[in-house]
Symmetry: C2
Subunit: 460 residues, 2 copies
């Protein structure tokens, strides 16, 4: 049963979108979930095809006070795209065009539903790329990437989504269309609404067009892996790698649990307490020097073995070890909490020592890997959701993790965002005064409170 | 005569700051100007030494409704630090400490009054640097750089102030202390208040502490200059330089007027329609290759001469040509309007053609140089302020310039900010909906409207 205001809204939306206003239970179920494995049933799924339709949808929703949750392809891990307050889901799948690409000015203008992977293909034709490279790159959208400030391995050299956007068009919670930012790589013209929208997870406005910065594709790529006898020595290598000017194009970390897991699946890796996977990119002529500078930085006391990729095939094999991790985790336990916390690089050993203690205290496997150059570690707490004690232990582990990360001067998320999962930790992370300002901003952008309610900011 | 509310405020401020509340006419005059050559007399100049004092100052000002204009060292060119509404000037000169530097985590925590140059010296001890390098680097403050999103020649490779800040502490217009951002190079935790504050020119809050990102210093530097037979061919070279992956560390442009001016002062330069000054940085081992890639990109049809700097002395000589420009402008006319407009790189020829027309139409010398890799050109309209006709012509030229830049898809400012000078052009640049949002944000951060009133946003 739908209460009167939503019913009127739904009638209006059906009139507006016709068959692109889906109300059947199966569609609503399919669009009610994301990669957080949470689910909530919306009243309807909307597939607008134009900016004007998005504005109309927002106006109708605001008028009726019906929640509106925007989504790309649902690859987010925090529940940000799950319509927990019910209401409407707005899918950007029909707005997936590359509107313009200007290689001479190194930018592209895209609709939010364009897949990151599709943008990379188009940019690649001009020898360019867009920096954000989340694991979901082939099947996540540029709009979704911007909404949660997605990163990836090459963020260490090229920045995350927020660092690679020039301007936006977005529809705020009143249905107003707002153009922000520039088409140029510099701008000091008024308040930076562009970067405010990035990472706001559909709670301040709906991005309907993005002008993204493209970078020239490096010609060649090479890499190596290095295994260390302790987290401390591996961290010394991370620090050394990041303090010299030949920046790695990726600097990935695995702790001993991650290493053991990959080895157990038959991947040939040295035995040790921590592994670093280091990528370099650049011109074929200079890559050997860059690699030499990086291997030199990586050769700190405590290095067990350094294995260089001589060929592209070898490099792919090194990365296979890293990519084998996520599926391998499923073999340890059916449930997984994967938090992408960030700590200053020098504090990685303290975090890992704490995690080692929790493994014993909680009786749960915890596997750590991630983007070490930014101190962005993916901490995976593994448990059986059917086991109440394990579920409680995992929840306790999460609290310990967030407390520790904040005490170490870190932050809750590096690239996944806050969504629903970390929402209640936001006050501890940002403090009461910043939180109060964020709430006020939310009211300015979305006075009716319809845009993705219950996400990012905890309920009052 | 001071009206009652300000009089009470001044008494409170004197009690709070003692001799650091300056009320003599000479001090008020000295702190009433910036590099815009505008002037307004404040009621008092305040020199707080602690965050708590800044909070108290803001509370007293808000209570009394007295305008409060913060300043670093007054090197800004847009009038942003001129207290046009009277009231109080808050100088951060007593808050100039380097609070922490963490080379392993590549960040520094600084007070806003620390000179950019002083930070570079401290960072340099650890083989690091802070990217923003405005001409005023030796004598402008980090807080001022952040307030106007300052850049400089190396922005083309390393980004401007906004791209090189991790977190802030700021005092909003109610005297609340707000901590934002992270100490890590990644963060996706709530709304990005940090980058919103950067470039807000003291109108949203007063930055009292900044955590800035440091980068590893490249070991070596080299460069060349290239002269072209037309703006079009020079632009083709700029595009080629920016489309290949060996990014220049600086890519400066001079038009024929700038070239002629420098040659007239005895600097040995080839004759041509446009000059590019290209810097590369990197390891000594790879720099020759990088230079080769850059010179190859610069060798487009229309190249008149390419002159490589073989030694550090030669490189300094190339830059001497660039640095001779600003003083040389004074020889052409006593008055100068220097606008740091930005256009997409491919539109540089259209802008320069329009400027050539205005030279004839307005009868004024116009000299163009700047940061070509970002399309950020400094357009200098030269005139005699004592001559009414010339003054009017310069004003007309400014309007033509901004109209043209916006029509070309550019923006008003790349690194100087809006301040007072470009304030009335903000509506045309950002559009009514974005402007309305900016006004609402201003009200959230500064409900009493005391923070640098009349700057950035035009009066309603």
């Amino acid at each position: 049963v739908v209460s009167p205001a939503p019913a009127i809204a739904l009638a209006g939306l059906s009139a507006l979108l016709g068959e692109r206003c889906l109300r059947d239970a199966a569609s609503c179920a399919a669009y009610g979930q994301d990669n957080s494995r949470r689910h909530a049933q919306p009243l309807a799924v909307l597939q607008p095809a134009t900016v004007a339709e998005v504005q109309q949808v927002v106006r109708i929703a605001a008028e009726a006070g019906v929640p509106l949750t925007a989504r790309g392809r649902g690859t987010g891990t925090t529940g940000a795209a799950v319509p927990i307050a019910g209401g409407l889901v707005l899918s950007f799948e029909r707005m997936d065009r590359l509107l313009a690409i200007e290689p001479a000015d190194r930018y592209a203008v895209v609709e939010p539903g364009l897949l990151n992977g599709a943008l990379q293909v188009e940019a690649g034709r001009h020898g360019l790329f867009w920096a954000p490279d989340p694991t979901s790159l082939p099947y996540s959208t540029v709009g979704g990437n911007l909404a949660c400030n997605a990163g990836g391995p090459r963020t260490v050299k090229y920045g995350a989504s927020r660092d690679n956007v020039l301007g936006l068009c977005f529809v705020d919670g009143r249905g107003e269309l707002i153009r922000t930012g520039t088409r140029t790589t510099k701008g000091a013209t008024g308040y930076d609404l562009t970067r405010l929208l990035v990472g706001s997870e559909g709670t301040l406005g709906l991005i309907v067009e993005a002008t993204v910065k493209l970078l020239p594709l490096p010609a060649a790529r090479a890499g190596f892996l290095a295994v260390y006898d302790s987290i401390d020595t591996a961290t010394a290598a991370i620090v050394a790698l990041m303090q010299q000017p030949e920046l790695p194009a990726a600097l990935e970390f695995m702790d001993d649990a991650a290493l053991a897991l990959v080895r157990a699946r038959g991947v040939d890796l040295p035995v040790g307490a921590a592994l670093l996977l280091v990528d370099a990119d650049g011109a074929a002529a200079t890559l050997p020097f860059t690699l030499q500078a990086l291997t030199q930085a990586a050769r700190v006391p405590g290095l067990v073995e350094l294995r260089q990729a001589a060929t592209a095939g070898d490099l792919a094999a090194l990365w296979a070890a890293r990519k084998a991790l996520s599926p391998a985790l499923r073999s340890l336990a059916p449930g997984k909490i994967n938090e992408d916390v960030v700590v200053p690089v020098s504090r990685i050993p303290e975090l890992c020592r704490a995690i080692a203690g929790w493994r014993i205290e909680l009786g749960l496997p915890i596997v750590v890997f991630g983007h070490a150059g930014n101190g962005n570690l993916h901490v995976n707490l593994l448990y059986d959701p059917a086991d109440t004690a394990q579920r409680d232990a995992a929840r306790r582990g999460l609290a310990l993790l967030f407390q520790t990360v904040l005490a170490l001067g870190g932050t809750l998320s590096g690239e996944h965002g806050i969504g629903l999962d970390k929402r209640d930790w936001l006050p501890a992370a940002v403090g009461a005064p910043a939180l109060a300002l964020m709430r006020q901003l939310k009211t300015v952008f979305d006075p009716a409170g319809i845009l993705n309610p219950g996400k990012v900011l905890p309920p009052i």
